[in-house]
């Protein structure tokens, strides 16, 4: 045994790799801003309704068609009210409250659908990469899914199962389940391909051989040795999946096949407002900005994560 003298000891406690990742991540300004905005918008839709307590569904016909306050800057005669800083719609519902309520639905659809697609993609990717017998079948399945016309099929899904699920779980939960599942099962393919590729490469490494030689079971092998090593591509594809899920949900709502009008999401708010956008452009612009900024920030976050999690780039 070697004697550990003072100067042999490392001066600092060892850093975990996540500190290195964070250091690299900090240098990417876009990713920092993206992450910051994502936290802000999440807080706004989760905590916001407690601060801005107006009920988004409350009809107030006397206060209908109020313009946002900033319109008073160029149009002194505009109907504005500090009680409704972003204005109201044609039934007097407060735009800010509706934006927060819609954002809550949009964000939760995004998160749940992304989780579903990542779990599905990772499971299929790991199974295909690790078990040779499953590889052919699962990869043909992935290719098949990649060859499906996704947006038309999503629309068809909505047509087919909307009424069934609505009657089974109620109008809101039913549509939520339907949209989340539909988005989840049509967006796992990229994750599965990336994970399979990485698992195939990892399987040839010595530490896997060592683990197998001491009799590690396949389940332990996957959870302890393989999954932690494919975390970074999974995280990157998770951010892309979140952006994709938010856009798909708003596109479906925009096409009139998503959530019903009394249960608004950002896409639905935008769609409902397009009929009167000549008079009230702000009702289109605010939900659109919310979707665009959220997706943009998630994409920047993904870019930063990709750089930060790649050890080849991290050193530079």
């Amino acid at each position: 045994m070697t004697d550990m003298t003072a100067h042999d000891m490392p001066e600092q406690p060892p850093r975990s790799q996540w500190w290195d990742v964070w250091d690299q991540f900090k240098t990417h300004k876009g990713a920092l801003m993206g992450g910051g905005f994502l936290i802000f918008i999440t807080l706004a839709v989760v905590v916001g309704p407690w601060i801005w307590t107006l009920d988004p569904q409350k009809l107030d016909i006397r206060a209908k068609d109020i313009r946002p306050i900033y319109t008073a800057l160029w149009d002194a005669g505009a109907k504005v009210d500090w009680g409704h800083p972003l204005g109201t719609d044609n039934l007097g519902r407060d735009t800010l409250a509706k934006l927060m309520a819609g954002g809550k639905v949009s964000m939760s659809v995004g998160w749940v659908a992304m989780l579903l697609s990542v779990v599905l993609g990772t499971t299929i990717g790991v199974a295909a990469g690790y078990f040779k017998r499953l590889d052919g079948v699962l990869m043909r399945l992935t290719d098949l899914f990649l060859a499906l016309p996704l947006l038309p099929l999503l629309l068809v899904f909505m047509l087919l199962f909307r009424d069934v699920l609505r009657s089974a779980f109620g109008p809101e939960t039913g549509i939520f389940i339907l949209i989340v599942i539909a988005i989840g099962i049509t967006s796992w393919m990229q994750t599965a391909r990336i994970v399979r590729g990485d698992i195939l490469a990892l399987k040839e490494r010595e530490f896997v051989l060592a683990a197998r030689s001491i009799g590690t079971s396949p389940a332990k092998m996957i959870t302890r040795h393989l999954l932690p090593n494919v975390m970074s591509p999974i995280m990157v594809s998770a951010t892309l999946g979140l952006a994709n899920a938010i856009i798909t949900e708003s596109a479906l709502s925009f096409l009139g096949l998503g959530f019903p009008s009394d249960f608004p999401t950002w896409g639905k708010l935008l769609f409902d407002a397009t009929d009167r956008m000549e008079l009230y452009p702000e009702r289109v612009i605010w939900p659109g900005i919310a979707i665009s900024f959220t997706v943009l920030s998630v994409n920047y976050l993904g870019d930063g994560l990709r750089d930060a999690l790649d050890p080849r780039i991290r050193g530079r």
Partner: protein, 335 residues
């Protein structure tokens, strides 16, 4: 190369068959009934006969087979008849829309030009913009041009087309009044004035889609150029005294175009799908709008055929991308 092409062709046939089966079975579950609008005074046995006349009484495998025959045999025959004036498909039953009771393919043929004009034009323009931007961005990495280019492509890639479309309408039709917000498909281009009118109504939908496509393609172009710019053969080319122009535009560009060309080919069917939204925003009555109205009207044969057309497009362009890759990169052929 021929061998490679044939192998790829053969692989795509089972894919198409399985996809058609998936689409067929999925729509089998649909709750809609084409007899829903028939008056209640019509006796049930007459209704049953009407249903059978629409081909609904028979078991699933037979109907699936008939649909396949209609799609892959009778419809092409009709196309030949139309083009050469022959009578090959006379008297044969075609896929009939429940909405209009006329052949689905005739309606599709009416709608294709609008979609092709808007979507095709935007894809060509998007690609033509994206390639130089990608090349310059990669060549001058981290310059102000690259910074702006990557930012704009990130924005174009993130902002959904339904928002860019609506925003353009608010700015250019409502506030400035430069362009019409609705695409008028009845416009006949026969004079200079109507040509200008056509250009004006195409500018907004085309630029919305072009921005989206250009954003994606320029990202790929930039990444692919960056991969190649640091390779040894580039140093060799510079060392033997070739001009910078030759090095970048001949040596590097030709190699970086290999993945980009396949991405461009793979993007074509996605553009058709994505155009569904843009067509809805600008009220272009193309294929996407046809699909939406068919879904809302529960017109299953139409939905089935359109979805399958989109699937065929994807498989065909996958095939084209594979073959292009094989032509451009000899290493792929011998795999």
């Amino acid at each position: 190369m021929l061998n490679f092409t044939i192998r790829r062709l053969v692989i795509s046939i089972p894919t198409l068959i399985i996809i058609s089966l998936v689409i067929f079975l999925l729509l089998e579950m649909a709750p809609g009934d084409p007899m829903a609008q028939v008056p209640l005074t019509v006796p049930p046995d007459v209704k049953q006969k009407m249903r059978e006349a629409l081909g609904l009484g028979e078991p699933i495998p037979i109907r699936y087979w008939k649909w396949l025959v209609q799609f892959f045999w009778i419809e092409p025959l009709n196309l030949i008849d139309y083009m050469f004036g022959t009578g090959l498909a006379e008297g044969k039953l075609r896929v009939i829309s429940w909405q209009t009771r006329s052949p689905v393919m005739e309606i599709v043929a009416q709608r294709i030009p609008q979609t092709l004009w808007v979507v095709g034009m935007s894809y060509v323009i998007g690609t033509l913009i994206a390639l130089p931007i990608g090349i310059i961005s990669a060549y001058r990495q981290y310059s102000w041009f690259d910074q702006i280019g990557t930012f704009v492509s990130m924005v174009g890639f993130s902002v959904p087309t339904f928002f860019t479309g609506v925003l353009l309408i608010v700015i250019f039709s409502v506030n400035l009044g430069w362009f019409p917000s609705i695409y008028d498909t009845t416009l006949v281009v026969d004079s200079w004035q109507s040509f200008v009118q056509q250009i004006r109504q195409m500018i907004m939908p085309v630029s919305v889609l072009a921005l989206y496509n250009a954003a994606q393609i320029s990202r790929f172009m930039r990444a692919s150029m960056l991969d190649n710019l640091n390779q040894d053969y580039v140093r060799t080319a510079r060392a033997k005294g070739l001009t910078e122009r030759t090095v970048v535009l001949v040596h590097v560009l030709r190699n970086s175009m290999i993945p980009v060309v396949t991405v461009i080919a793979l993007g074509v069917p996605q553009v058709f799908g994505g155009a569904i939204i843009t067509e809805q925003v600008f009220k272009v009555n193309g294929l996407g709008q046809l699909l939406i109205t068919a879904i809302q009207a529960n017109d299953l044969p139409m939905v089935q055929t359109l979805t399958f057309i989109f699937a065929v497009l994807i498989v065909v362009f996958n095939l084209i991308a594979d073959i292009l890759y094989g032509i451009l990169d000899p290493r792929i052929r011998y795999d």
